[in-house]
């Protein structure tokens, strides 16, 4: 039993969903995503039992490309994030009616397939293919099932597509160049390479372009807010919950170990960029009128911090980054789902048109409150663990990084509570806010439970990821 | 045969043919009447044919002359097709001025 099974299952699921027809599509998709989740948990056990669950096979002889899926702790963690969030996201969409549902859910599963592949691929080209592949489903999801004015949406989505593609194509060039040097794209061979400082710099930058656009790091973030706003909430969840993490994961897995010299030499620049993102994102978020846009900017701030952590090249930085990735994945999905719940009832995303929900639905309010608190990293939530570790690593590099990055806990509290106050509190709203349905409540509860559990007991995840991160660190410090 | 070539020298043949060829080219470039353009193209081809013959003599080798037949045949076929197209154009537009063929552009 190895990881390729997962991908096959997802792919089969995608087709099955499409064939199931509009009526059953959502159920089938949910079934398959749950199956995959279970499957990945089984794999996790196998992995912890020390079995080899990798799958490596020659694919193209000339150029020498292999179909290599390797699962170490890091990959598995991200894989679990993907396979855990996918069913949640699908389940969360049960409240909505989608035209042509079969294609919709098939695309979701296909995207999950591509993203899982990205996290598992251990061959540069394979990785790149999955990376690109994940772009197509989200493109169509955002384009066809998105909301708002069609023309505006089109521009936003096409911009997003071309923007990300542009970035990744330079990564492709970098990969080809690496292939010339290594004669193979297996990640282990790439780690073995010793490139000159200038080569590393160029490769690093080529990768950086791809990742900075995907993550996004300022100033490459302009696609984000609009797409988040225009995409259907499910798409937004996929984007912000998992797809962003592809970029961050790739930084840790590919960029840093392959070009460590550049990473070390220009560490401060990239940390500074990340932190600038934190502050910039938080400040822009302060005065957003659209709830989803506000959340988009908040996530810009958070990923900025994560990126900064990753670029510190310390164990804490990397570990904190990964923890924060997972935590942020859940929180952001929860928050966007909350936005969707409100939208289902008020049919608006404009903050000024909300308010007074608390007196209508205390249940929903408390869940939303918890999510807000988690996203501002209140201790005992999962995000605190990540944020603390990241900030600690920053403080080890330079105390000022920690102070500036730490402003996120002030500014974050500011814009989140401001948002909460205007969305939930105040005089009872005129519009009717039906109490949360069972499905909605269940989704929320699961997310909240995860956040609290790992907030108090992150040990399992830490134990899972630490060895592979240490391994990566040794690669980074190899010369 | 041979001595003539010696007296005159292959270069001159080449120059002659190049000049002929260029005449053809300029004809194609500057004349607007399709028929004349065809003729100019023919001039180009024939210039080449002449050169073929010259070279074949120069090399003492018959292949060149054989090739000339090929090229003449091909040229004939080409012109046949060309004229056919020209006729249908004349039917549809009533002119054979190539400068009027500007419907397809941009």
């Amino acid at each position: 039993m190895n990881v390729s099974l997962l991908l096959i299952l997802l792919l089969v699921g995608a087709f099955a969903t499409y064939l199931a027809g509009d009526k059953l599509a959502s159920k089938v998709a949910l079934f398959f995503s749950l199956a995959v989740l279970g499957c990945s948990i089984v794999l996790l056990n196998h992995f912890n039992a020390g079995e080899n669950i990798s799958f490596i096979n020659q694919w193209i002889s000339q150029p020498n490309i292999s179909f290599a899926l390797q699962a170490d702790g890091l990959s598995l963690a991200m894989l679990l994030l993907t396979t855990a969030l996918t069913p949640l996201i699908i389940f969360s969409s049960f409240g909505n009616e989608y035209k042509n549902a079969k294609s919709f859910y098939a695309l979701i599963l296909f995207m999950a397939f591509a993203m899982a592949g990205t996290f598992l691929a251990a061959d540069g080209l394979l990785y790149y293919i999955f990376w690109e592949l994940s772009l197509i489903p989200i493109y169509f999801i955002a384009l066809l099932w998105g909301n708002g004015d069609a023309e505006e949406r089109k521009t936003a989505v096409v911009k997003f597509f071309i923007y990300t593609l542009a970035g990744s194509l330079f990564m492709l060039v970098a990969f080809i160049y690496l292939y010339q040097r290594a004669g193979s794209l297996l990640i282990d061979d790439l780690y073995k390479l010793d490139l000159t400082a200038s080569e590393q710099l160029w490769i690093f930058l080529a990768f950086f372009l791809a990742y900075a656009i995907k993550i996004p790091i300022i100033p490459f973030h302009t696609w984000q807010a609009k797409v988040y706003q225009k995409a259907p909430t499910v798409g937004t969840m996929l984007l912000s919950g998992i797809m962003l993490k592809m970029g961050l994961y790739s930084v840790i897995r590919w960029q840093l170990p392959i070009a460590p010299l550049a990473a070390k030499q220009y560490m401060f620049v990239f940390i500074a960029l990340g932190i600038a993102g934190v502050i910039y994102g938080s400040i822009v978020a302060l005065r957003q009128k659209d709830l989803k846009k506000l959340l988009a900017y908040s996530s810009l701030a958070h990923v900025g911090l994560i990126a900064a952590g990753a670029y510190t090249l310390t164990l804490d930085g990397l570990r904190g980054a990964v923890l924060q990735m997972i935590a942020h994945g859940f929180v952001v999905v929860g928050l966007f789902f909350a936005a969707e719940i409100i939208f289902r009832r008020y049919d608006t995303r404009t903050i000024s048109e909300m308010g007074g929900i608390r007196s209508q639905s205390p249940k929903f309010t408390s869940m939303f409150m918890i999510l807000v608190l988690a996203s501002v990293a209140l201790p005992s939530t999962f995000n605190f663990v990540g944020e603390f570790t990241v900030l600690y690593s920053l403080s080890q590099i330079n105390i000022w990084f920690a102070i500036l990055g730490g402003t996120t806990i002030i500014l974050g509290a500011y814009y989140m509570l401001k948002m909460f106050q205007h969305v939930m509190l105040g005089e009872t709203n005129k519009k009717i806010f039906a109490d949360v349905t069972l499905n909605e409540g269940l989704t929320m509860v699961i997310i909240v439970a995860v956040l609290f559990f790992f907030g108090m007991y992150p040990k399992p995840i830490i134990d899972l990821i630490t060895p592979s991160l240490e391994n990566i660190l040794t690669q980074i410090n190899r010369n | 045969m041979n001595n003539i070539l010696n007296q005159i020298g292959i270069e001159n043949y080449i120059f002659l043919c190049v000049i002929l060829f260029c005449i053809g080219v300029f004809g194609v470039l500057y004349r607007r009447n399709a028929i004349i353009v065809f003729m100019s193209i023919e001039i180009m081809l024939n210039a080449v044919n002449l050169l073929f013959v010259a070279f074949s003599t120069y090399h003492q080798d018959a292949q060149g002359q054989v090739f000339v037949f090929f090229s003449m045949a091909v040229a004939a076929a080409e012109v046949a097709v060309g004229l056919a197209i020209l006729v249908s154009i004349f039917r549809n537009s009533g002119t054979i001025d190539v400068a009027n063929l500007k419907n397809l552009k941009g």
Binding site: Y163, A402, I410, L411, A413, K418, L425 | L101, N103, K105
Partner: protein
């Protein structure tokens, strides 16, 4: 055994919280109130057990529950530490906590969200206990932020009023500013000593030979900023007066007795660190003194009964920090305890007044309540005497200790402290006179409804009044039980003991005199001249400045809030758009090129062939040149 008991102590309030959250509505108001109260009472009982244990065994109990976060150079476990300090704190947190819960059952009975209220209170107690008994800085930080959260929830309890929500938000964010400082301090300590556990940290620091005093100082200062945020010191004090938006019991519990003392707790917890950084200690002392004075001055002219109490709280906290800064931790703690008694009493009393007047908080519309509500009056009088520092009430001893310590270190600080306490005496009795003496100034129907509060409200008042009367006994000069008790925690306790000479008696006399002076002024102004503070509009001059709290809020608004929002608008409207314009610009350029190119493909065969020939010639000639 101890572990389980400790867990009971910690988790019963949480249990109460959960019960009230999930079943509160079904339980009904009274019952949910009882549940909430019981859960705290249970923890109080357990605390008493531990108190007995510690006084006998003198050995702190350390409990490791599970591994929590791992950092590269050390592991953080989720552990509890029950030593003299934490148990002392637990005593009055849970003790006063249960009293206030009891009080709230009656006080909040008319509110339809009573169960939520109790849920929040229990949650607060839970987090407060976590804060106090956490065995390392990060567990403490959980409680630290948790109580901040609860205070946010409780200040904004009446969430339909956006002003209250603003106050709540303000409190949370101000606390967060402090929390950042605390975090930075934690980071530095972690880097320096590779541990955040209190006991190991203590041994590490006291054992260490060559300490990096610079970083140590930075850490101490950062931690102090955290304390400022939580304990409402300058410059982060402005949230506390606004926090009075919350229900009165909340003000009593959180914003007077317990949460705001967290900063003092943290500093005394880390006394071994602060002892090594005298500069920071000086800063603390000075900040404390200034805060005491400033807050007191503002308190002089406030007309909202709770505002007065709030500012007096800030000022008292200032005095405690003064003591901390002078290294007299046990003195500060002494004042914390006594202050907890009488300030809780005062708040609850004011609560009962407000309750009686149907929510009226303006003292100008009160008066003459003495006859109507004698118990409230008596208890509040005791408490006021205590806070004013009248012999032999609790406040007298603790405040006097502080002043003596101040005098020993620095005369100026002593002067400031004394002035502050004179003012305290003044505004407290201003409050008393305006509220209880003379005739009633409120509306008619209020007058009709005037009544003494039910026993559930008065009982806690009485208990607290008694405590604020006898509270001083725990640390009398010469034979101070408190100092004995805390001896294991602090290093220099013994040197801090001062001999009772005539000189000390003199200081006591001066302090006492000052207190009487304050009361006297108040008496002459509000009883003799029978004057009532005039309308807000008529207030002028210095008192206007004071009445408007030195315009500090406005200043902050102009200095921080407005600029950030302006910046946000600027980013949103200009930077964002211009960046994306840059991206779109590239697309536009290519499109324009394409447009120009269309003209080139003009459909003319002549031109096409011309281009053909041109290309041909170019290539041929290039080849020639290349030859």
């Amino acid at each position: 055994m101890d572990t389980n008991l400790a867990l009971v102590l910690l988790l019963t309030p949480l249990l109460g919280f959960l019960i009230n959250v999930f079943f509160g509505k079904k339980l009904g108001k009274t019952f949910s109130g009882i549940v909430g109260t019981l859960s705290v009472v249970v923890s109080f009982a357990v605390t008493l057990y531990f108190f007995g244990y510690i006084t006998v065994a003198k050995q702190p109990i350390q409990i490791i529950l599970f591994d929590w976060i791992s950092i590269s150079n050390f592991n953080l476990s989720f552990g509890l530490l029950l030593d003299q300090l934490s148990i002392l704190w637990l005593l009055f947190v849970t003790g006063i906590g249960s009293l206030i819960h009891l009080y709230s059952i009656s006080y909040m009975h008319d509110d339809e969200k009573m169960h939520t209220f109790f849920a929040y209170l229990n949650l607060f107690v839970f987090f407060m206990i976590t804060l106090v008994i956490g065995s390392n800085l990060l567990v403490m930080f959980i409680g630290w932020e948790g109580v901040g959260l609860c205070s946010y929830l409780l200040i904004g309890f009446w969430h339909k009023n956006q002003e209250y929500n603003d106050a709540a938000k303000k409190a949370f964010i101000m606390n967060r500013i402090g929390d950042l400082g605390l975090l930075i301090g934690i980071f530095i300590l972690g880097m320096l000593f590779s541990t955040l556990d209190f006991t190991t940290l203590k041994t590490a620091i006291s054992g260490a030979t060559n300490l990096n005093s610079y970083w140590l100082g930075v850490a101490a200062f950062a931690l102090f900023i955290g304390a400022c945020g939580k304990s409402a010191q300058i410059p982060l004090y402005t949230w506390l007066p606004d926090a009075m938006a919350g229900p009165t019991p909340v003000s009593a519990l959180i914003h007077a007795a317990t949460m705001v003392t967290a900063g003092i707790f943290m500093i005394s917890r880390l006394n071994f660190l602060f002892d090594l950084t005298p500069e920071v200690q000086n800063i603390i002392a000075i900040i404390g003194a200034i805060t005491a004075l400033v807050a007191a001055t503002i308190g002089l002219v406030q007309n909202d009964i709770k505002k007065v109490l709030a500012y007096s709280t800030v000022s008292q906290l200032g005095l405690m920090f003064l003591a901390l800064g002078l290294g007299a931790y046990q003195v500060a703690i002494f004042h914390v305890v006594t202050h907890a008694f009488f300030k809780a009493c005062l708040f609850l009393g004011s609560g009962s007044v407000i309750h009686a007047l149907g929510g009226e908080q303006d003292m100008r519309k009160m008066g003459g309540l003495k006859k109507a509500m004698p118990i409230t009056f008596m208890t509040m009088l005791v408490a006021s005497l205590a806070i004013a520092g009248i012999f032999p009430f609790a406040g007298f001893w603790s405040k006097d200790e502080i002043l003596i310590t101040a005098f020993e270190h620095n005369i100026v600080l002593w002067v400031i402290g004394s002035v502050a306490s004179i003012m305290t005496a003044f505004y407290m009795f201003r409050l008393m006179y305006l509220t209880f003496f003379k005739e009633f100034r409120g509306t008619e129907d209020q007058k009709h409804h005037l009544h003494e509060s039910p026993s559930l409200i008065t009982a806690p008042l009485i208990i607290l009044a008694v405590l604020s009367f006898i509270g001083g006994l725990i640390s009398l000069p010469k034979n101070s039980w408190l100092n004995e008790y805390l001896a294991p925690i602090f290093r220099k306790v013994t040197e801090e003991e001062h001999t009772l000479g005539t000189f000390e008696y003199g200081l006591m006399a001066i302090a006492l005199a000052g207190a009487f002076i304050g009361i006297g002024i108040a008496y002459s102004k509000y009883i003799k001249q029978n004057s009532v503070p005039e309308e807000d509009s008529k207030i002028t001059g210095i008192s206007k400045v004071l009445y408007n709290k030195y315009y500090v809020d406005e200043a902050y608004d102009v200095l921080f809030v407005k600029p950030i929002n302006a910046l946000s608008g600027f980013f949103r409207d200009y930077i964002e758009t211009s960046i994306s314009a840059l991206v779109f610009g590239l697309a536009k350029v290519t499109n324009e090129l394409s447009f120009q190119g269309k003209k080139l493909h003009n459909g003319s065969i002549g031109f096409y062939l011309f281009a053909f020939v041109l290309g041909l010639c170019a290539i041929i000639s290039y080849l020639f040149l290349a030859q």
